[in-house]
């Protein structure tokens, strides 16, 4: 079916996959002793009187790499902000390592969307990373902090970026530095909100390789918001698909193989290739 599916799925953003919710309606944790990094228990969020998320429930075992997908406006960023404790759920709860979201911020590393920060700020990669280590902007970086930052940068293949000014970094390098920043506190979970949006193909590919290594790790869990099928294929150990509510939660091949969910793939493909809309 995918072969003759219209390439010109012209308005992928408005396509809501015609899928009925098949997951558990009443969410109970199976008592199997599995260590969970994150538990989202019937999380509902309202913003400005508008319901953005409705009873989203799933969990992430230790070390699992989750791709969070869904159309634009589905509430993916809102969910991440709730995980970070920046938004309080209207009902339900998010637990991170058994603690309420927002109370365990060192356990969560965050890679923001590119361009949310001040591109012109006079700072080096080192200062940015150490700022997250200390919780304040460093006036002077101590040698031990520098060593730690260097080790973390090495982990993401960015060791030589350590003294570079942020303003001079390419898109891919910037995101690498931000990933190192997120990893400096040795979190149990790292959150990435469309980290490669606006990054060129080469940078995106390189970043994906680093994410794949994180995915291979058994210690570090991740939530990656992405519209990129390549990222899902390369990194995802599990896929969560939301559109206001939880639509699907399962293994990547299960979900992408489902005929009813094929629309997802196409909506994502258009994002990835950044195709201009056909005529019309």
């Amino acid at each position: 079916m995918s072969a003759d599916a219209p390439r010109a799925s012209r308005a992928p953003r408005s396509i809501v996959p015609p899928v009925e919710y098949t997951g558990p309606r009443h969410f109970t944790l199976p008592d199997d002793g599995m260590q969970r990094v994150l538990v989202s228990d019937k999380v509902s969020v309202e913003l400005g009187g508008k319901r953005i998320l409705h009873e989203v429930s799933f969990w992430i075992p230790k070390g699992e790499f989750v791709c969070l997908c869904g159309p634009n406006g589905a509430g993916k960023s809102t969910f991440l902000k709730t995980v970070l404790g920046m938004i309080e759920p209207t009902s339900g709860s998010i637990q991170i390592l058994g603690q309420r979201a927002g109370t365990a911020n060192k356990a969560v590393g965050y890679v923001p969307q590119r361009k949310t920060f001040d591109q012109d700020f006079p700072a080096t990669a080192l200062e940015l990373i150490v700022a997250n280590l200390r919780g304040t902007w460093p006036l002077r970086v101590r040698p031990d902090e520098r060593e730690r930052a260097r080790a973390t940068l090495r982990r993401v293949g960015g060791e030589k970026l350590i003294d570079k000014p942020l303003a001079g970094l390419s898109g891919g390098e910037t995101q690498r530095v931000f990933l190192a920043r997120a990893l400096i506190n040795d979190p149990a979970l790292v959150i990435l909100d469309e980290p490669t949006a606006g990054v060129d193909v080469k940078g995106r590919h390189e970043f994906l390789e680093i994410l794949a290594e994180i995915s291979a790790s058994d210690e570090l869990a991740a939530i990656l918001v992405t519209h990129n099928p390549a990222a899902i294929a390369r990194c995802a150990e599990r896929v969560v698909y939301i559109d206001g509510r939880l639509i699907a939660w399962g293994l990547p091949h299960e979900l992408l193989g489902q005929e009813s969910l094929s629309a997802i793939a196409f909506s994502m493909k258009d994002h990835a290739n950044n195709l201009p809309p056909d005529e019309d």
Partner: protein
């Protein structure tokens, strides 16, 4: 040598140079944060708010120099208003500043017009362009006092203020109270602006905030370097400008700003290379 020493043998020049250097350094230090946050116009906006405050003071019967004490709370209130609108309205800084700027200036004009015809006439030029050569001992004490207070406040909050300037969201995630810092920064700026208006005047004060910070930004690669450069430029520009204006016998406030402008041009040329 005499070129340097002779002018400062006169008490009024001594007061002027101390006041100018203090105001220049202070404005520059705040300017680093303000400019980096895209609020370059805040200096202008608050200076015009200060005009509204001075006019209110005059309307209430104060003298020009005492009107500052009315202008101070008035301008701080306006700055907090701007901070509030920035937070709430999800509005760009230049828009919020522009609105407050216009409204408080209009209020100032209105207040001046409402004064009884018998009231003492006001030298508008003094208010607009300042009177750094007429700084009194009391004025100087106030300037230096404010200088110390603001420098202490900045030193205590520097690392958090810097983080919040870089990215409020990430700073908040690190547990920094970003909102409180925003209000503090704008209130401090208001205080410094009111004090500065007395010396360099409404029309020129904004360049004290913007030019040293913008020049230093081209020279430094880390925020604290930029801050140090900016303060040095603000202090040095004030002293050099005063000296030049003395020898050339031209308006001192304007000469200081032109000196700062020349420095900016120099940095721009050096950077291009």
């Amino acid at each position: 040598m005499n070129f340097l020493i002779e002018p400062f043998s006169q008490p009024f020049m001594q007061r002027a140079v101390f006041a100018g250097m203090a105001v220049g350094g202070l404005c520059a230090m705040l300017g680093v944060f303000v400019v980096q946050r895209g609020l370059s116009f805040i200096g202008d906006g608050l200076a015009h708010a200060a005009f509204g405050g001075i006019a209110l003071g005059l309307l209430l019967g104060a003298s020009v120099s005492h009107a500052t004490w009315i202008a101070l709370p008035f301008t701080v209130l306006v700055s907090l208003g701007i901070a509030f609108v920035l937070r709430r309205g999800r509005m760009r800084g230049d828009v919020a500043t522009g609105v407050f700027f216009a409204v408080s200036f209009a209020l100032g004009v209105l207040f001046l017009g409402l004064r009884p015809v018998t009231a003492q006439s006001v030298n508008v030029e003094t208010v607009l362009f300042g009177s750094i050569l007429a700084v009194s001992n009391t004025d100087l004490q106030i300037v230096l006092g404010v200088c110390v207070a603001v420098a202490i406040a900045l030193a205590l909050t520097w690392t958090r203020l810097a983080y919040a300037t870089f990215d409020p969201e990430l700073a908040r995630l690190s547990g920094i109270r970003v909102e409180a810092l925003d209000y503090m920064l704008l209130a401090l700026t208001a205080v410094v602006i009111v004090v500065a208006v007395k010396t360099v005047g409404i029309a020129l004060v904004s360049s004290f905030v913007v030019i040293p910070a913008a020049t230093a930004r081209m020279l430094g690669r880390s925020l604290h370097r930029v801050a140090l450069f900016a303060v040095a430029i603000g202090v040095g520009g004030a002293a050099l400008g005063l000296l030049l204006s003395y020898h050339l016998n031209v308006a001192s406030g304007a000469t200081i700003i032109l000196t700062l402008g020349a420095g900016f041009g120099l940095a721009l040329a050096l950077r291009k290379r």
